[in-house]
């Protein structure tokens, strides 16, 4: 299949089925544009939100998963809140991001998923977010060693960054949550 061709008959049926079971009714979109008009990050997107919804209804998985838009979406929920047809557009973005990660598709904005991964690693380990560890993990992974160095020093000087992590007692619960137990429910 040529992934550049946009036609409903070329749509990825497995992807459409996934959206259907998740309860995200992309076919309810009538292209009013309220989602795109209200999106705070739209200027940085390569696909506008209304295009994402329409491409999703055509099953154009490859174009969507390779886009910058899915990683630059800030999850502010303005689109889903204002959609007159109550399409869970922010939920659609979540599905697209997790699919892209599962399929190992090179992210068009690599720093964003690296940050999420660093944050989640910190929770996986301690049960709570540990800011210094999270930021250090992100810096090492992304190679962005100098960015925000001044801000970090200021935060540190103001005692805003806790030196040591807090480890919760129920780490076994956290381990189970991350182990994929319950995945059978999602499938």
């Amino acid at each position: 299949m040529n992934s550049d061709r946009i036609a409903a008959e070329d749509g990825n049926q497995k992807f459409l089925h996934k959206l259907e079971v998740t309860g995200i009714d992309v076919h309810a979109c009538f292209q009013c544009g309220r989602c795109s008009a209200g999106c705070p990050v739209a200027d940085y997107f390569d696909l506008q939100v209304m295009e994402v919804v329409r491409l999703a209804s055509y099953g154009m998985e490859d174009i969507l998963l390779g886009s910058r838009t899915i990683w630059l979406c800030a999850a502010c929920e303005t689109c889903a809140t204002r959609c007159p047809n109550e399409i869970e557009i922010a939920g659609l973005m979540d599905v697209l991001r997790s699919l892209a990660l599962k399929k190992g598709i090179t992210p068009a904005e690599p720093r964003v998923p690296l940050l999420h991964k660093s944050f989640l690693d910190s929770i996986r380990h301690w049960g709570r977010a540990y800011e210094i560890g999270m930021i250090a993990g992100y810096k090492l992974r992304s190679g962005d060693l100098v960015g925000d160095m001044k801000l970090g020093m200021q935060m540190f000087a103001k005692g805003k960054l806790k030196l040591l992590p807090h480890s919760i007692k129920g780490r076994e619960d956290i381990r189970r949550i991350f182990s994929g137990k319950g995945k059978e429910y999602e499938r």
């Binding site: 705070p40 990050v41 630059l72 999850a75 989640l120 977010a129 935060m155 005692g159 919760i168 949550i177």
Partner: protein, 288 residues
């Protein structure tokens, strides 16, 4: 009144002072907070944005811990509030999500401003004022997650909320009418794409300044950190606007002082609030 308390990770890290303000304010108006024992991170944006299952099951563990307490749950962080509400909704719809047979607790999950803006609580606030913050023009900034998506948060006025304005009026200050109260500051992107955050924060702060605000007040720890820190990167000729927590204003107005240790937590000098407390003879006789 007794409430279960879910502080969330920010409030034991970069927003530790916010936690202290919330506890101080609740003590002053006779609300007892009982911290949920051994709570874990709600997963914030990162979990649900990349893995639906983890994004749901992290907050669910907290709900089940809170269920044992039989109390309504107070949440001072907008992001934690939204994640706990999302998990609660999912679990009520299908308890099988956490391998439960039933899940129908009668608690409500309350974001801090919804509590503080209740009519009976506003009366308590007015009764506890030692130093009203007269003359402060404040832009009330809600951001996203205490409001959106209303199908999850249950917020009644998600485009035109009034809770922060009510609290600001109760403390004697003046809320300005402005345009960007519920615009996103891109907190979830701020580390990976600071350039985007600088632009969005710049738009928000310029709008607040145009409306005549001399400071911003919020109830979200991500907004507070992001809107202060990214103003520093933007530079520009105009003086940056400090961002206060509503609970921080209340704590100062209740105690009649704005201590240096609290002033120090700001990346932008909070002189506008400090000056309320330095004018001689301006303190009013307390009612308590």
């Amino acid at each position: 009144m007794k409430l279960a308390y879910y502080p969330g990770c920010s409030l034991e890290g970069s927003a530790r002072d916010y936690d202290q303000s919330v506890r101080q304010v609740c003590r002053a108006i006779d609300i007892e907070l009982v911290e949920i024992p051994d709570w874990n991170c709600c997963g914030a944006s990162s979990a649900h944005m990349t893995d639906h299952e983890i994004g749901m099951r992290l907050p669910m563990r907290n709900l089940l811990l809170a269920k044992e307490m039989g109390l309504d749950i107070l949440v001072p962080c907008a992001a934690c509030f939204q994640r706990l509400k999302a998990a609660d909704k999912a679990l009520r719809a299908d308890p099988g999500y956490w391998d439960l047979k039933t899940y129908a607790p009668d608690y409500t999950i309350i974001h801090i401003s919804t509590l503080l803006a209740r009519v009976d609580i506003l009366e308590r606030i007015e009764g506890a004022l030692v130093k009203p913050l007269t003359g402060l023009s404040l832009a009330c900034y809600y951001g996203c997650l205490s409001l959106r998506n209303p199908r999850v948060t249950g917020a009644p006025d998600w485009e035109t909320p009034e809770n922060l304005e009510r609290i600001v009026r109760a403390v004697g200050a003046a809320p300005v009418s402005w345009s960007h109260r519920t615009e996103c500051c891109s907190g979830s992107l701020t580390l990976a794409r600071p350039d985007i955050a600088v632009r969005l924060v710049g738009d928000i702060v310029r709008a607040a300044r145009r409306a005549g605000a001399t400071a911003i007040v919020t109830d979200c720890p991500m907004c507070q950190a992001n809107v202060e820190s990214r103003q520093l990167d933007a530079g520009g000729r105009e003086a940056p606007l400090p961002v206060f927590f509503a609970a921080e204003l209340l704590a100062a107005a209740f105690s009649g002082e704005y201590p240096a240790s609290q002033q120090k937590t700001h990346l932008i000098a909070p002189d506008i609030l400090s000056s309320c407390f330095s004018q001689p003879g301006s303190a009013r006789e307390g009612t308590r």
